[in-house]
């Protein structure tokens, strides 16, 4: 039974959460919906591990939907990069679902919690679909599935600002997705194909036409909107700040990462590295990335809401990934892909801590966090370790990705860039210290309600994430070798 299923794993990975979502609506019961979401997340996590192993040992998997041969039919293609990103998304989903019940039940009205799990499953479907599909238009469909459901997730936030944050994200997100299909349409017009592998073969003939250059422009801006590339990030801070805590954890750790994956896929699997000689996209990305890491880290220092602070820090971190792409070298791309994985773990851990804090004190304002170091010692200790990882302290994952990024910069002889990366890490020390200072060195205000540590099912996911921050910081074999071979296959041309 299992062996007959195994060739169909790529499609099961997408269809499983897609079917589970409406089942949650049929039951309309919080407990059942949570159980379904939990089981599906862990099953998907298992499938990702199996797929990654298969890809590492046997090379890319191609799955033809309905057995229609490419390029006529839709192809699902799992190579090492997509398997790696899929592992990120599913592992975060699996961890978040263990954490979710308490936090969700406190923040979302009980008659709507089953909708939260439904929308979570749809977002999950969309994100997995983006990573797995080998068809440029199919990618748009999954992009919209994940985006539309994440707008709903954000609007579930308790404050009214969540509604406007969701609508603003909806408007910019739709503009971004539409820009992307304009680009895909222009490519189709020139090549007559939508299959990514096929596009990569046929594009070089027409690569220097204006139509293709315009397509590159539209797609860059479209994906830039999705990944929160400076200055297209304006939707991101509010969306992260006002969404329910669990939603912020999930989206911050996965959605922007998948958008970076899209960017890698389009630039390197479709257009190829020759594109950068036709249009100076790499220089543009480098400049925007540098502005992002410096200005957004500086803006983060002045935030009074901890979730918003970390949201700005996320925009800065996307800057690091974009700088890695702009190098167009194996080391640079290795740094980007590593940082996808590492930043997902860092931000997941940090936002989980904030969700736990909100669960106890009903606020994530930094001034309200006074004295938490004593009141919630295990939670706040996790915050410190994950924070060290964000800063890039050795023995944590943050150090590994910054190390490769700086290595890549030096390889290209970009001394000033390496220097600016260090400067922006120092800015991160300032905003991170702000929270630590208040949590550890200020007493709880007089008369404040007694608070205790969060329950074990919230503490455990936090420490699993923090533990993996340290584990993958010391034991880098798996992540670095996977990232490096993904980077090599991207630079080498066809996936």
């Amino acid at each position: 039974m299992l062996s007959s299923l195994s060739p169909h794993l790529p499609i099961i990975q997408v269809v499983l959460p897609l079917i589970a979502a409406p089942i949650c609506v049929i039951f309309r019961r919080t407990g059942v919906a949570w159980l379904i979401a939990l089981v599906v997340s862990w099953l998907s996590f298992g499938i990702s591990i199996v797929l990654l192993e298969q890809v590492i040992s046997n090379g890319p998997i191609s799955y033809l939907l309905g057995s229609w041969p490419t390029p006529w039919g839709i192809e699902y293609r799992v190579d090492i990069l997509s398997a790696f990103v899929m592992l990120i998304v599913t592992s975060i989903g699996a961890i978040v679902m263990i954490f979710a019940p308490n936090s969700v039940h406190m923040e979302i009205p009980p008659d709507r919690t089953y909708l939260f799990y439904t929308m979570y499953l749809l977002t999950f479907t969309g994100l997995l679909g983006i990573t797995i599909t080998g068809d440029a238009f199919n990618l748009f469909v999954f992009l919209e599935i994940s985006s539309l459901s994440s707008y709903v997730l954000i609007s579930l936030g308790a404050e009214r600002n969540a509604l406007t944050a969701a609508l603003r994200y909806l408007i910019l997100g739709t503009v971004g997705a539409t820009f992307y299909i304009i680009g895909v349409g222009l490519m189709y017009q020139m090549t007559g194909t939508l299959n990514i592998t096929d596009l990569a073969e046929r594009l070089p003939e027409v690569a220097s036409t204006k139509t293709i250059l315009v397509a590159i422009g539209f797609i860059t801006v479209g994906i830039g909107l999705k990944l929160g590339l400076f200055p297209l990030h304006v939707w991101l801070p509010n969306a992260y700040a006002y969404a329910p805590s669990v939603v912020t954890v999930f989206l911050a750790a996965t959605a922007t990462k998948v958008a970076v994956y899209m960017m890698l896929r389009v630039y390197f699997s479709i257009f190829g590295t020759k594109m950068f000689s036709a249009l100076p996209i790499d220089e543009l990305l480098l400049i925007l990335g540098l502005i992002a890491i410096l200005s957004m880290s500086a803006v983060a220092i002045y935030q009074s809401n901890a979730k918003r602070l970390l949201a700005y820090s996320s925009v800065a971190q996307v800057g690091y990934m974009v700088i890695g792409i702009s190098m167009v070298t194996t080391t640079g791309l290795t740094a980007t892909i590593l940082h996808l994985f590492n930043h997902a773990m860092i931000k997941c851990a940090l936002f989980l801590v904030l969700a736990a804090v909100f669960y106890r004190i009903k606020s994530v304002k930094i001034e309200d966090m006074a004295g938490l170091g004593k009141a919630m010692p295990y939670t706040m200790a996790a915050f410190i370790v994950a924070g060290f990882s964000l800063l890039g302290v050795p023995l944590t994952v943050g150090f590994i990705s910054k190390w490769y990024l700086i290595l890549g910069a030096l390889e290209k002889g970009w001394w000033p860039v390496a220097g600016l990366i260090v400067v922006s890490s120092l800015l991160a020390v300032i905003y991170f210290w702000k929270i630590i200072e208040i949590a550890y060195f200020k007493p709880r205000p007089e008369g404040a309600a007694e608070i205790s540590e969060v329950p074990l099912n919230m503490l455990l996911p936090i420490w699993v994430m923090v533990g993996s921050n340290v584990y993958f910081g010391m034991n880098t074999d798996l992540t670095v070798s996977a990232a490096m071979s993904a980077a090599k296959s991207l630079i080498g041309g066809a996936p």
Partner: protein, 122 residues
């Protein structure tokens, strides 16, 4: 079937560009949230026209297996656009639903008044 008037070659593409810019301009410039959603719709429709135009060829018939039909239009972009239309409808529905909730919460659907209220909150 031959159209009574020959459509000049690039007319459709000009329409696409005009619609796109009009829609985009409305999204950016109008403060009324419903108008923003309408602008977004016009913007999306321009892309539908782009796809449909590129699949049409001179004298092309519907793609039916028949000996009489030699030239036919490419049906694939039409199918793609059916999907995109569904996405557009879903986006509009969700956007309007959010606007209803925003009006309940703020008592207005003007962007600048909402921004003022949010500033007062903070």
């Amino acid at each position: 079937m031959q159209l009574p008037v020959e459509i000049p070659g690039l007319l459709n593409y000009w329409i696409v560009i005009v619609l796109m810019m009009v829609g985009f301009f409305v999204v950016i410039s109008h403060g009324n949230l419903v108008k923003k959603i309408v602008g977004l719709n016009v913007f999306q429709v321009s892309v539908f026209v782009l796809y449909i135009t590129m699949s049409k060829i001179d004298g092309g018939a519907a793609p039916i297996l028949d000996d009489a039909i030699k030239n036919y239009s490419n049906p694939l972009p039409h199918v793609l656009i059916l999907t995109a239309i569904v996405v557009g409808v879903a986006t509009t529905a969700l956007g309007l639903a959010l606007i209803v909730r925003i009006r309940d919460a703020y008592g207005t659907i003007e962007d600048d008044e909402i921004t003022n209220q949010e500033r007062d909150d903070a």
